[in-house]
């Protein structure tokens, strides 16, 4: 097994609150891995810590075998990790096109810019239509698409998505997951955060369930029953 991301014994504090307690995960290269958990379980904290936005109190994170625990976020991004953060965070005062070009900021991505732009316009025709408009005029779903498209422009090895489906209509969610599958088929590893158990188990190869900063259950999605995950999710049955 070839793990592209290895997390071991991660502890993260938000002030006095222990947001992550001894979290260990292995993300296999080329897979779609999802993290399921209720509000406040620590999912965003985990993703942000991987990207170097939060500094852990203890533990280690490796990317392709390399220790990235104390690395600066921009440096981590340059290794091939892209993230679509919670709430999409598109640049509202830039056009759709400029947002996409921001994704191609790093030298490696800049070289592939023309091809990648064509690719994301193919995937999300609406972005091509609105390319000259300010991102502030986009709908919530379109912003999520722009956020994913911007990540694709980075030409990354891994895309980490924090609740891309939050607040979106089912049709759009379906559409976005179809794109995730497409990109995954091209070899991009995905680490997704989901609140919905059913969707997570359907789309991910491997799932982790988090409760109050801990991993309480994990396994191949095909081998996890919705009932068991649901029990763990609501903390009825603690496996920790």
């Amino acid at each position: 097994m070839n793990n592209i991301i290895e997390i071991s014994g991660l502890n993260v504090m938000h002030g006095d609150l222990r947001a992550l307690a001894d979290v260990s995960m292995n993300i296999e290269s080329g897979k779609i891995v999802s993290i399921i958990g209720a509000n406040g379980a620590g999912k965003s904290t985990l993703l942000n810590t991987i990207m170097g936005v939060h500094a852990p109190a203890a533990g280690a994170i490796r990317f392709e075998g390399r220790d990235i625990t104390k690395m600066r976020t921009s440096k981590i991004a340059s290794l091939g990790l892209a993230m679509t953060p919670e709430g999409s965070r598109v640049f509202a005062d830039m056009s759709v096109m400029e947002n996409l070009l921001m994704g191609a900021y790093l030298p490696g991505a800049k070289k592939a810019k023309a091809g990648q732009l064509e690719k994301v316009y193919d995937m999300f025709p609406v972005l091509k239509e609105k390319s000259a408009q300010l991102a502030s005029f986009l709908s919530g779903g379109q912003r999520q698409m722009l956020s994913i498209a911007r990540a694709i422009m980075m030409n990354p090895k891994v895309i980490i998505c924090d609740e891309i489906s939050l607040g979106l209509a089912p049709v759009i969610i379906h559409d976005i997951y179809a794109k995730v599958k497409e990109l995954n088929a091209e070899g991009i590893t995905f680490l997704l955060v989901e609140q919905e158990i059913k969707r997570s188990l359907r789309h991910a190869d491997y799932s982790y369930v988090m409760v109050k900063g801990r991993v309480v259950m994990e396994g191949k999605s095909s081998g996890l029953s919705r009932e068991a995950v649901s029990d763990a999710y609501f903390g009825i049955n603690q496996f920790a």
Binding site: M51, G52, V53, R72, T73, S74, K75, A77, S78, A82, M83, P85, R89, F91, A92, D93, M94, E98, L101, M102, G103, Y105, L106, A109, K110, S136, R150, M154
Partner: protein, 291 residues
Amino acid sequence: MLETLPQAIVTGVLLGGLYAIIGIGMSLIFGIMKLTNIAHGDIMILGTFLTMHITQSLTGNPIIGLLLTIAIMLAFAFAIQNFLINKVITKGAEPALLVTFGLSIIISNALFLVFGANTHTIPSTLVTTNLIRTAHVSVSMMYAVSFIVAVAVIVALSLVMNRTSFGRAIRAASSDTVMSELLGINTKHMYIFAMMLTVVTASIAGMLVGMTFPFYPTTGTQYLIIAFGVVVIGGMGSLLGTLVGGIILGLAQLVGANLIGATYQQLIGFIVLLVILAVRPQGLLSKAARK
């Protein structure tokens, strides 16, 4: 007084150009780092002294003096941003503001130690030349050049900010540091580049100011207030707003002086500033106003 009004308007607009280029660096720093750079005026006057000194000691050509000054100021910008401001900027606006306050005092005192308290000028034939001279209006070559240079600098900066990958990255870093980092942009480096852009504009402004008006080590404060006025009137962080802000301030001062009396020139400028602040706190052309 009415017969001198056209002259006041022409001079006010042209002086506004000079004010704009004085303020533009302050606007950049505010727009990008949300930092009120108290040392802005002193940094500019440091540039003025350097240009004067280098020009005098070398060829006597102020353009060569300016270019060498810019080279020194770039190193200075790197040092203060990398070793001082970047260390505290993540801890909020106040610590960084205090650092610039300290810098302001250090620069003006250092200038005093080196150059003494005397008043200086950068000699230039532009001051004694007129571009236009009619019965009612004359346009000093110095003021005209300042205005043209200011417009050129603002256009150049706008092009850099809006049309280049570097400019986009600076804008991104100013609107969302975390997202910018996630895209691979080292925001601390962007801050260093922003400070470098700032000292380039401040050095140019400093030379023009030194040719137009007498200066001494503590003149910086005076120009900090002008820069502040320009930035507040035009809207924090807006490049075009800086030009508009400069012209409004210049016009207010000179037309006001013309109508009420020259002793009130500074006061009238700041009354206009306060009125605009009261009516439109975000400034005339700020981003917040456009949304």
